[in-house]
Amino acid sequence: MANQKLAMVIDAPTCLDCKGCLAACKVANNVPDGKWRNWIKGADPERRASSPVVFQPGNCMQCDKPTCVEACPTGATYKNQADGTVVINRTLCIGCGQCLAACPYGARFKNTDLGVADKCDFCAERRKFGLEPACVSTCPTKSRKFGDLNDANSEVAKLLKANRAVRVANEQTRTDPNIYYLGEPGPTNWTVQARMPEAFDFWRRLADPVVKAVVGLSGLGVLAMLGKQLAMPKDAPPADGGAHEEAGHE
């Protein structure tokens, strides 16, 4: 069975900033108060000279080069090869939050109810039952389209073939996202900068070599002892062993 490459194609200019997708997502995924799996950038506009204003819906971009996966120490976050989504295994997640900082889109948050990192997974549970992601099915203007890019007959594949589409990626971090924007995408700013947490870097750069050295040295010592034991089975204290009362020694 061919692998899927699930993606969203978003027609941002048709977004009304009605918050339907945010509400639908929150209910569908039990997202705790104050946290959101998806967003509308450029919402609640101040008055602008240019019109029409473009609101830009978004969510986790299920990147092909996910920095969050790189930052996860436990492998709880991984790229699902079957459908291309970036997944969080909640039982494996230790809630360290390294992936939060590592995501250049701020797509991740700490689910305070569950104590784990959380983010959009294209509504994996709904998809199991043949339902579209909640944000997609609820969207009044159907700004959000969802499907499999590997399926040439899917709506998203057709849209990408027929239209110019851009990805609104964070310039500082190249992640190859899987959300495509049709037409004028709207805001391009990202308030978040991806970074690896200090502790993570310390681990990677310093702690890891040091630990390896310590364990290595111990190992070497033990090996030496073992070698000696094998090589010199009859090692005994010299005759002037003094206080050592060797008499009884076997």
């Binding site: 009605c18 929150k26 602008r48 039952f129 609820t138 499907g147």
Partner: protein, 732 residues
Amino acid sequence: MTSSLDQKISRRGFFKLTGAATAAAALGGSDSALKPGAAQAGTRLKPGFESKYTVCDMCFNKCSAIARVVDGKVQKLDPNPKFLKSRGMLCAKGNAGVRQQYDPDRLKYPLLRVGARGEGKWKRLGWDEALDLAAEKMKAIGEKYTRCGFMFMAGADMQSTFIHRFAKAYGSYNTLSHESQCLIAGTRAFLDTFGEVPIPDMLYAKYCLMMGANRFEALVTPDSIDMMTAMKQGMKLVVMDPRYTKTAAKAHEYYPIKPHSDMAVMLAIAHVLIKEGLYDREFVAEKTYGLEQLAKHVEPYTPEWAATESEVPAEVIVKIARELGAAKPAAMIYPGRRSSNYRDSTQVRRAFAIVNALLGNWDRPGGLTAARMVGLGGGVPLEEPFYENNPADRVDAGRATLMFPEEGSFKLARDAVLEANPYPVKGFFCYHSNPMQTVANRAKTARMFDQMEFVMVMDVAMSDTAWMADLVLPSQYYLERLDPCSAQQGSSACACVVMRDPVVKPMFEAKPVFWVMRQLANRLELGEHFNFSVEEFRNAQLKDLPGALEALQKDGVYYNPSKLYGVYEGRIYKTKSQKIELFNQRYADMGLDPMPVYRKPAQPEADQFRLVVGRNAVVTQSSSTSNSLLMEFQPTNHLWINPAAAKGLGIEDGDWVKVASPAGKQWIQAKVTDMTRPDTVYMETGFGVLSPQLAAHGRGACIAQVLVDDFDQISGNMAMHETFVTVSKEAA
């Protein structure tokens, strides 16, 4: 018992269920055919979840929805892709319906007031006790003050019909709805122009001028959605609004028009259309009455004149008129909905209607279309009794020129009650409506309640109105209810029927209002009028629609295809002249302006602002501001004030300010923004909640407290934007 989708949904079954409706294809991808997805671990939707149709009740739009139920609990509400009126969508409010169902603030059992009115001291009653008491009070008040001495109010609910029925059976003419707070001026204006209230065919419009409406925030199906689709198909949207709404943000052109000058712009557009011969000559000649009079009438209303009134530049008005003329007949002045703005709102909307008539867009694609009746019956017929000792008419009769006898006017009825003129009204029953929050001049509403001998309120939560009641009855929420059918219309989208079956078991002691009405009827010897079940009522409604019930159970919606355009070919218009009346003969006969006359509106003094109110896509007035999900989007309201004005008053963003009008005062945090004009301040509806038993209590300010209760002189519609306020940085 019929329960629409009561079987466990297999994957295949689900595909069938959500297969997109044929017409949806035309809408550029509201195709919700489901894509198979990879199986992944999850805990939310367990296998075997049930999908049941319901009809959303988070606002008046009545969108068909699918409830996903697990272990008897609603987990999620999804849009019904086959429901074309909503274009298969469910908005943020619709999604938040789940939270409302399980809201900890819900009323659990009947409560009797034991302290002073509004003091919040209650005693729990059993239903029998509560109903006995209510019946006794109704009987006593009916006998003492005639049956018109008991007033009934019901909001836009699928069971409201039973309250009207009860009122008729009981013998009171005094029934109120929310409509005199909302739309009757617009209804009046279009009825008195076209002989009926049109439905805009937004989907196929090529040009739309929107004034007095905020369709991208105050969602109306299908208009809000179709407007975007139409824009994608090339429609030009021009918005005039004193406030930079999201509709303005999405418009191609936006003009911050001076409030209460819409009529001036509209008359000037008519002026240009006629002067430059841009109107639809053939249509106007054939179908309208009074072009000559109109031509003469708008002669002095030049764009230059209108520019001074509206602050919309003359060349813009000319340009818009020309663009409208070029795009006609698929060009429209959006008729709008809420028109509770000014003393002359009917005439303002008449001006909208007249320009539409000049554009010849009536009964044509992309214009204003005629109502399409789906053929839903009236249910079990009512043999309305007549009580000889009743007064001749409603208590508010005659207080405005052309009121609707079914709707009346809350504002005028309240005045009449307070004056006890022409007769006293001493009992009040309110269902699914919250006048304490929504009706201008809250102090007066409170006074009206004070002079009542018995106030009974039925609602899902302790609303501000319930807080003022003597007896509070817990209502079932829509997900628990079996409701009659409701007919829906929406231009090209539909003429359809929806109905509601219970999705979950009722919680606590909550009951449907039908049951309460029936119980009361039995106690008042009016049982014969309620001698049926809701199912029987529904079957009677559907008797002329074979196959409807099956369609409703299978698809959640029943359509009755009918002609959309050209409905009036060979038909007369239901007006006095039997034509579209540019010149309204009846108005002339009654001494009203037969064509809209612009009278310089009162303007705020130098230290005053005009207060305008409105809502957005996450707030349905007061019914949703306590919703825990929607509250996250909008925890409170703010007073929008222009930076120039704020600077003069020393107000900075986030400052607490006092807003005061002759009606009352409120304290609220300022939002300093150039999204409102320097002469206009804005507040959202639904905050400043009195009732401490609602989560929204203590958040923001209440519009009802500061709005002045003026009214539209023709329809009796509340005129809320005639309110001038002072704003000061002053501690509470």
